[in-house]
Amino acid sequence: MTNTKDKIYSLEAKGITKRFPGVLACDSIDLSIGENEILAIVGENGAGKTTLMNILMGLYQPDEGEIRINGRTVRFRTPNDAFAAGIGMVHQNFMLVPNMTVAENIALGSRDFHKFLRLDLAGAKKRIIEISERFGLPVQPDTYVWQLSVGEQQRVELIKTLCFGARFLILDEPTSALTPQETEELIVLLKRMAQEMSIIFISHKLAEVTALSDKVVILRHGRVVFSGTTSEQTPSGLAALMTGHEVVLPKNESSEECGDVCFELENVYAKSDRGYMALDGVSFSIRQGEILGLAGVSGNGQKELAEAIAGLRKIESGRINLFGKDLTNMRPRERIDQGLGYIPEDRNSEGIVPSFSVKENFILKDFASPDFANGPFLKLKNGEQKAVELKEKFDIRCPSVTTPAGALSGGNIQKVILARELARNPKVLIAVYPTRGLDMGAEEYIHKKLLEMRSQGTAILLISEELEEIMNLSDRIAVIYKGKILRILTSREASMRSIGLLMAGITEPMAMEAGQ
């Protein structure tokens, strides 16, 4: 390894172009990062961010263009080349072994700690403590990774990259799995780290971009559409540049009276996979044409609640009613037939069958209905017709309806799910983190559709941890904390502050008032 320890004081990419069959992923992209700068790269899903990063990491070779470090042209043929040059990447999905300790995880990935037939754990620990003190990244080398929160795991990823000798950091959507509090901590941390090195930060959360970065590059359809200083931009200005049009996240402003109560949970108790009571007497009701927002830090029973409603998790006691009908003992199929719609939390593994075509995913719930089947035989033509119709109506970007759904971008996968669920005209729709990880354009679209459903009389349970999303869309807001609904507020009573405190489990009126 030519692992010179020189500081990277500039990195430039000039005219990077990369073509894939039918797609120009990167179209002569220029960017440059100076000493101790934080550069944000923003763009919608499919704008070419990931391809560009893969080129900087040596996973892809550019068709044209070159990369210069400290003014010298470099060629990365493999990720190891990029690494030897000092570029370290923290991926969106963590690459850690859960049943190993922090020190073991770090020692595992670096030749420096590979001694004959064993790992040099003492050496690894020493390096971890050194790095964690230097950058103010507190971490216990002996804890197991599975014991760490998502935010802590990310810290381990950062330390890992630094331990391996990175002198330049690339972070791919680092906040997509973090809670709002963890995100704030990360921003402070990265600012501190920028005193020693330059950082590229990929995101489509524009509030973070303006809070953190010095410079910003906006990509659209593989091209740089804007490049400049962040401080001159506002989040909404960036959003407009990113999507090519003014983005106004729709708000629930209509004050029409909602209809009758149609969906009700009464005192529902359910256990988590680990056996503790994850739902501790949950009760709420939703009226027709109402959006009930369920706010809460994830991991407080949202997943179990959603599964209990879908019929995938047994409830210990309590009742679930839909239009007075007791769903409690019905199978998932029967609940769907009663008019329950569902946008699951993990769109790839719960929402679609990735290897099935878009067409097949559209009929995932209806393939046996008379519309799409004649006795046991599928009516393939009807499915095809329906698919073309939905693709058009929901503006789903895919080469054809026979493309495997798993090959689409996150936003388009979510649109496939949304199209399927909305086309079924559900009476009640459970939407779990419906915009998680999506860019603003897709978010705007999904919010619009949810409000449309609301005005058509669907009762919607919106589970989210994005306060802004909840505040914008909900008629009433319930806050869940440790499996209990702490309070249900009307949108007029609720403020960011009061919901935030409830999410942290603080219910005393004193604290609430002091906070306001």
């Binding site: 069959p21 893969n54 609940r335 993990d346 719960e350 995932l364 393939f367 035989f377």
Partner: protein
């Protein structure tokens, strides 16, 4: 142009995979001290030289096809049936028992009845691991393999005890085998002087049926969804457990049918070793055929060729016929590696760049390298 590169890429990797499989086999042959080229030449060409050889290939392809069709159903549905070997033997027992018990029944009734009995025998044998998996979550790979051991012992016990040919006990050598099936239970031969029988028609028709089942019916849709993404299937209201059980029972039914066809079409009595490892080879055939009936048929013929060819090497140059197992193992390894390489976008990108610059741009000193398997 891009798609041409893609095709070249896939072809090159597949070729590389075939070469690697052959190389592994060659190494083993070398250790045995055999002539590598001669062995391959015999395996791949000798069986094709006369009508007997060709029909023998097909005779082996029939049970292989039937077993693989069932395995394709189970693999596509997310439950791995490694128990076809035992299910075949249960099919043989049930088919032979019905045929022996009803010697006076007319042929047009007895043949279907014996085949049906075999199908049910195999299905019952696979119902046990299917149920254990669906209801109790018992790993089906373990339970199906264990069921194979039970089947082998049970089969051996029947052939040495209750089902043994009485003549063997009185005047024969005590060979563990049943009496000859009544003529009314025989599946007819197609070409006189060869063993090729009408079971081939059953296999071909069922291949079509399996295609329709998996891709044209709601049952198939359900099973494939359950197999490809069980969580999503559950959210969509599909009873995944029922799909697993159904897929396993179907897989067992196909293996059982293969056993009944084998006993009524080829051997006409239950003998030891009648399953000839078809239960395990069927897994390879199914994977090699891409878990699709259209791929399984040629794949079964190809492995039939290997089996017959390996028999010939044993006779002609004393290379043990079990060599074919080494080939099968090598083929599985190289298929899996080839699939991973074909789906690796980075490797493909690298190849495409080299390929394009090699043909349409300035030539580079390095020759295109497709990576090997």
């Amino acid at each position: 142009m891009k798609s041409t590169i893609r095709i070249v890429y896939i072809v090159l990797i597949s070729l590389a995979a075939a070469v690697v499989a052959m190389a592994i086999a060659a190494i083993v042959l070398g250790i045995l001290g055999a002539s590598v080229t001669q062995t391959f030449k015999i395996i791949l060409t000798e069986p094709l030289k006369d009508i007997v050889g060709i029909t023998e290939i097909l005779v082996r392809a029939i049970p292989l096809t039937l077993v693989s069709l069932g395995i394709a159903i189970s693999f596509r549905s997310g439950i791995l049936n490694i128990g076809a070997e035992g299910q075949i033997q249960m099919g043989v027992i049930a088919g032979a028992a019905v045929a022996i018990a009803l010697p006076n029944m007319p042929k047009f009734l007895l043949v279907p009845l014996a085949l049906l009995a075999g199908t049910i025998g195999g299905a019952l044998w696979s119902f046990v691991p299917g149920y254990l998996r669906a209801v109790l979550g018992v790993n089906e790979i373990l339970s199906t393999v264990m069921m194979n051991y039970i089947a082998v012992q049970f089969y051996g016990f029947l052939l040495r005890g209750p089902m043994i040919d009485p003549a063997e006990l009185q005047v024969g050598s005590g060979t563990p085998q049943s009496v000859r099936l009544p003529r009314s239970a025989w599946i007819d031969r197609i070409i006189p002087g060869t063993r090729l029988h009408w079971g081939i028609a059953i296999a071909l028709v069922l291949a079509l049926v399996v295609y329709i089942l998996l891709w044209r019916t709601t049952w198939g849709f359900r099973m494939r969804a359950a197999g490809a993404s069980p969580k999503s299937a559950r959210y969509a209201g599909i009873n995944v457990e029922r799909c697993l059980l159904m897929a396993m029972v179907l897989a067992g039914a196909f293996a059982g049918l293969a056993g009944a066809v084998e006993v009524t079409g080829v051997h006409r009595r239950a003998i030891e070793g009648i399953s000839s490892n078809y239960g395990f080879s069927g897994v390879v055939v199914a994977l090699f055929g891409g878990l699709h009936p259209a791929g399984i048929i040629p794949s079964a013929v190809f492995f039939g060729l290997l089996l017959v060819g390996a028999d010939m090497t044993q006779r002609m140059i004393s290379i043990p016929a079990n060599m074919v197992l080494v080939l099968q193992g090598a083929v599985i390894l190289s298929i899996i590696s080839a699939k991973m390489l074909i789906n690796d976008p980075y490797l493909y990108d690298r190849f495409a760049r080299r390929f394009a610059s090699g043909f349409f741009g300035p030539r580079r000193p390095k020759t295109p390298k497709e990576g090997g398997a």
